[in-house]
């Protein structure tokens, strides 16, 4: 790989009317990293993800993926470049069975029929679905299984960068631990950026944490240092005076 970071945003802005949901974000993520993105509600995490994949068109600023500007590319072309995303709202093919879901994700990769089948089998094993579960329509799955199904689709599509928006929301601790395991497998092949609130989850995964607040990058550090950071504690608790202080 070249010397470029896998992802770099320069002054990325997304406005909805008068509100700047993303307000000049400069984010650099290196190849192979697993980066956690945290921040209180409305910090612009999901909007940032949607700007990266052009589900929203950025108002201004640039997104460089492997050193190349993504400007003007439609969503499916960005996916073809190697960015896969799991939105906050699960997005799977509800009426198709799990195997077909995974297969459709792998289908774009121009594999032979045999390779395709083995990729699907491998991914189903990685997300821990047995044959019976793989034949069920995705709509009949439990919440956690749906999340894993979508993660499986990301694994099968073999991205270079995977964006995960709250992959463990609403999960029990055991389910969360299994999700950590799946994401580690994903990280073995791809750079991962993940938005999360669960501190244990972050501690288990991330080397580096970026805190987003009001559409801007507030701090970027290791988890231990972030946890000790007074400003971060304040914005999560909504203490206004100190927030202003941090921004100033």
């Amino acid at each position: 790989m070249s010397g470029f970071p896998i992802l770099a945003t320069r002054g990325l802005v997304k406005r909805f009317g008068g509100v700047a949901a993303v307000d000049g974000v400069d984010l650099v993520v290196d190849v192979g990293e697993i980066r956690c993105l945290i921040g209180p509600n409305g910090a612009g995490k999901s909007t940032l993800f949607k700007c990266l994949t052009h589900q929203h068109q950025p108002t201004s600023g640039h997104v460089l993926f492997e050193g190349r500007d993504l400007q003007g590319l439609p969503t499916h072309r960005i996916a073809r470049r190697g960015i896969a995303i799991k939105n906050q709202i699960p997005s799977i093919y509800a009426n198709l069975d799990v195997r077909e879901n995974i297969r459709l994700a792998a289908l774009r990769r121009n594999l032979t029929k045999r390779e395709l089948d083995s990729v699907v089998d491998l991914v189903l094993a990685e997300i821990g679905f047995d044959n019976l579960q793989a034949k069920r329509p995705a709509a009949t799955l439990s919440h956690a299984h749906r999340q894993w199904c979508e993660l499986g689709m990301l694994l099968a599509s073999n991205p270079r960068l995977a964006l995960l928006d709250e992959p463990t929301a609403g999960m029990t601790r055991d389910e969360m631990l299994k999700t950590v395991d799946i994401i580690k497998r994903l990280n073995a092949r791809a750079t991962v950026i993940v938005v999360e609130h669960d501190l244990e989850f972050i501690a288990r995964l991330a080397q580096k944490v970026t805190v987003l607040h009001r559409g801007k990058v507030l701090v970027e550090d290791s988890m231990e240092r972030i946890e000790a950071n007074e400003t971060v504690r304040d914005i999560y608790l909504g203490r206004k005076k100190d927030t202003a202080h941090a921004e100033g």
Binding site: H76, N87, S91, A94, R108
Partner: protein, 338 residues
Amino acid sequence: MLRHIKHALFPFALVLVALTGPFVLEPFDLVNLSAFSAMAIAALGLAFAWGTLGILNLGHSVFFGIGAYAYAIAVSNFGDSTLAVLIGTMLPVVFSLVLGSCLFFSRLGDVYLGVITLCVTLIFYSFMTSTADPWFHIGRVPLGGFNGVTAIPSLNMPANPQASLSTEATFSICLLALAGAHVLLSLVRSSDAGRIMTAIRESELRSELLGYDIRFYKLVGFALSAAIAGFGGTLYTAMMGFVSPSVFDLPQASQFVLWVIAGGLGTFVGPVVASFAFQLLSSQLGANQVFNTELIFGATIVLFVLLAPQGLQPMIARIANLKLTYRFGIFRPKEKAA
């Protein structure tokens, strides 16, 4: 293997009817059934665009009508039906590519797409009814306004315009064409491209995020459905010997939709059976003049949406499944029935 046999059963039955029909049926029935088949072919086009790709095309009749008029004009000018069928199939494709580009690249939602396509067919209707003036002619064929084009030659032997095909031969061709259209669309649907189209119907967002160009797939599927509809239109016109603007009108447009809903959205056998059933009903009612057929169809569509929203084919499949379960104690998951 068993699944393949099951899927081949319906087209096989059609082929059987196509070959034996001429020996057992009256000429009057042969003509009727040929016309029904031509309509059923066009309905299959909508069953594909709507059921597989999720394109709610309320103006499917526009492709049928363009095919019908193209055949009429081409065959009257050139005298040979083979070329006319080809033109009648390709012209709707060209039109669908233009219309589809506007619709899909502007990312219209379902409802808007339905309204616009319906308007398009009604515009054609309105235009064709106002072409009574002899000035409106293509080659030596006047468009004829409300009366349409008449005295259209029927199908002939390929490359031999003098040898008109008999009623029996035309009947066989229509039913074989229906079987062919069914097989073609089934093959497309089960191919990788067809599975991607099904995925696009399920979730456009997910398909885009996986890297599929949904506009491209929709355009291709739309064009295929237009080709099938246009082809049906050519056969229909060849059968009837005339075409009028009513091929574009609201009752015609709504009939295709009714057949697909009644037969079962997402299925192919259902819409074909439904189209035959409703056309039979329509011709019986029309002969009696007791009821207004459109009123009956309106009531039927309401009943179907209320009582069997999934349509005939899925409903029958489910009932058959229940019976099997009851009889042999075989447990089959519910999803398989659908």
